[in-house]
């Protein structure tokens, strides 16, 4: 009982946490919004890090920050900063906590263009920040068929969380830069599907479709279209509750693509992919250049891979989403406890070209003790499946003209992970080491990995 209460409180506290969603062509991510002295703040380093190369140095009350070629200087407790050699005035004082600069939330709309050199669309009330032309537009088309169908067309693939309530279907876009259709509410001249309303809050966009009865949704057109319709009534016999309410009213689901739609409890088929950006915090990994650490490349790459996997219907657990130190045991434990369907560890290297895909080099397995496996050979039972995943990644990367090799490596925590596990080491492309920080290059690699995981997803689902 006590545990349940605690869990409820934790969930509630997490739900109440203020979040900022940032959408850009380089990365899509969320940051916590922190309250200090009655005002909202965000970490400047965390905000800029996914967008480019950032370094910072704190000396006493002064924080010096460099973003790509832009230098900035901030003073603890002061409202004035220097950016690109010019003054910039905040509405509230800058704070420095643990060598980390916190800047007033309401200044982001003016602050970011100074660093990025491009305009941003900052929706302060909704806590959504659009960098560049990344917004996804929605259009509606009502088809007066029987049963009626409402087709929602998006300008890019989307991956909303969908849930149903009595007389309402709710879509929450957490990671898609969906923008308002113009009007907050659209009414339809239809007796079944009556209205669609759009809202934005705490970093999310929400689209609700109201109806006189239950609704169901299906994806098509490579996830660019969501068709909402009332289910067919069962002609004879008692009503089948599953047909009327295909989604449990309390569930939150992401649907399969196109014709693979399954009206049963789709959540049961959602696979958790564990994405592990190697190194981090005190452990910087390889020095790829004088100023570029492996840990920074793996984090950016992992964020892109998370997005690609989520776009393909996977749940994703990113083992670190900041510059934090994690031991190999911590990584393996988190992955194993989460019952992931697949584990993908990301590395980067300045030598060679293309990518290298590794599976575990398992030492001689100690005798199993009942259902238990030796910690250093926990991967052994699923190693053949790991090799299948590795082969699939190689095939997808070759389709995208990557030079790619596969091998085995004594690389922790691959040996300790109980699910299919691979490590992908991203090497430079045709443009050399600079490719390692290129969003396009990383995006191609991430898409190849995600497509490979999709191609073996049927094998992953049967994992215990």
């Amino acid at each position: 009982m006590l545990l349940a209460t605690f869990a409820l409180l934790s969930a509630s506290s997490s739900a109440d946490e203020k979040q900022l969603s940032v959408y850009s062509s380089v990365a899509i991510y969320r940051l916590p919004v922190l309250e200090r002295n009655g005002h909202d703040y965000v970490g400047l380093l965390e905000l800029l890090e996914p967008l480019g190369r950032v370094s910072s140095e704190t000396k006493g009350q002064v924080l010096k920050l460099r973003y790509n070629a832009v230098d900035a200087e901030f003073l603890e407790g002061k409202t004035r900063a220097r950016i690109r050699g010019q003054n910039f005035d905040f509405s509230n004082p800058v704070l420095i906590e643990n060598s980390r600069g916190l800047v007033p939330f309401n200044s982001l709309g003016a602050l970011l263009p100074r660093f990025l050199g491009t305009q941003v669309n900052f929706r302060e009330g909704a806590r959504r920040l659009f960098i560049g032309d990344v917004g996804i537009q929605i259009s509606f088309k009502m088809e007066a068929s029987n049963p009626p169908r409402l087709a929602l067309s998006f300008t890019a693939p989307v991956n909303p969380t969908i849930s149903t309530e009595p007389d309402k279907l709710r879509m929450i876009f957490k990671r898609d830069p969906v923008v308002s259709p113009g009007s907050q509410s659209i009414s339809f001249d239809n007796k079944v599907i009556t209205q669609a309303s759009y809202s934005e809050t705490n970093g999310d966009a929400e689209l609700d479709v109201a109806a006189n009865g239950a609704l169901m949704a299906s994806f098509s057109n490579d996830r660019k279209t969501i068709v909402i319709s009332a289910p067919q009534q069962t002609p004879t016999g008692p009503q089948n509750p599953a047909a009327i309410a295909p989604f449990p009213t309390t569930s939150s689901n992401t649907l399969e693509t196109g014709s693979n739609i399954n009206n049963s409890r789709i959540a049961a088929h959602r696979i958790l992919a564990v994405v592990d950006p190697a190194h981090g915090g005190d452990e910087r990994g390889a020095a790829l250049t004088d100023s570029l650490s492996e840990k920074d490349v793996t984090l950016g790459f992992a964020r892109l891979l998370r997005h690609e996997l989520e776009n393909r219907g996977f749940a994703v657990n990113l083992l670190r989403d900041a510059d934090t130190t994690l031991s190999a045991d911590q990584r393996a434990s988190t992955a194993n406890l989460g019952h992931g369907g697949v584990y993908i560890c990301l590395h980067a290297v300045s030598e060679g070209s293309g990518a290298l895909v590794y599976t575990a080099l398992i030492p001689a397995e100690e005798p199993s003790k009942g259902v238990f496996h030796a910690w250093n050979a926990a991967q052994a039972p699923v190693l053949p499946l790991s090799r299948t995943v590795s082969t699939a990644i190689v095939a997808e990367m070759q389709k995208r003209k990557f030079q790619v090799q596969t091998s085995s490596a004594s690389l922790r925590p691959l040996n300790n992970v109980v699910m299919p596990a691979v490590s992908v080491e991203l090497a430079p492309g045709p443009n050399g080491v600079s490719d390692l920080t290129s969003a396009n290059y990383q995006q191609r690699a991430a898409a190849a990995i995600a497509d490979a995981i999709v191609s073996v997803r049927d094998r992953l689902e049967v994992q215990p």
């Binding site: 090799q405 490596a409 690389l411």
Partner: protein, 194 residues
């Protein structure tokens, strides 16, 4: 009156004392001249001696990402452990040549190798090899595999290999290749074949 015999005796003793002092000084100078210098420029490890044998070295090639089996003629001492050390030193010399396909630091060396029955080899690398090793999964794994396969191919009976650095266990070679567990020779060979 001092007897004459006593004077002669004292005179002879004085001559002997002076002569012994001169001889002692001479001996000390000789001892100083023959003392070896404290900082020797000679290699710490004596060169291997013994009959020359043809061995197979598994040499890493970074660009191709593989090990290549190469024959080499090297002098090998009689003892198994000394033989193993000579083998791996011959391998390291290839990696220390200019333009090597898998370069290692010039100071890289094998401190010692212990062969423990049944079939366990403990390879103790010096700090320079690990500390100056390039960081990356492939290049680290190639170093490890190259050492293991060269040992296994030329020293019969080795089934598992433990790698230490400066006599101590180390987490990774240079941030990636895990050194905390013993390597199974068969597994490494099978991985190389794949």
């Amino acid at each position: 009156m001092i007897p004459k015999s006593l004077l002669v005796g004292v005179a002879i003793l004085l001559v002997l004392v002076v002569a012994m002092g001169v001889y002692l000084r001479h001996m000390r100078i000789r001892a100083t001249e023959t003392e070896p210098p404290t900082a020797s420029a000679l290699p710490v490890t004596p060169p291997a001696s013994g009959p020359t044998e043809t061995v197979t070295l598994y040499v890493a090639d970074d660009a191709a990402g593989i090990l290549r089996a190469e024959s080499a003629k090297i002098p090998l001492p009689g003892g198994r452990e000394q033989r193993a050390e000579s083998l791996l030193r011959a391998l390291l010399r290839i990696y220390q040549q200019p333009g090597a396909a898998h370069p290692l630091a010039a100071e890289s060396d094998i401190r010692s190798i212990y062969l423990i029955d049944p079939g366990v080899a403990v390879v103790d690398l010096n700090a320079a090899l690990a500390d100056h090793h390039r960081s990356g999964i492939l290049c680290e794994q190639l170093t490890v595999n190259s050492l293991i396969q060269t040992l296994a191919a030329n020293v019969p009976g080795i089934q598992r290999v433990n790698i230490l650095v400066e006599g101590k266990s180390r987490d990774t070679l240079a941030g990636h290749a895990d050194l905390t567990e013993a390597f199974d020779v068969t597994t490494v060979e099978q991985a190389a074949e794949q």
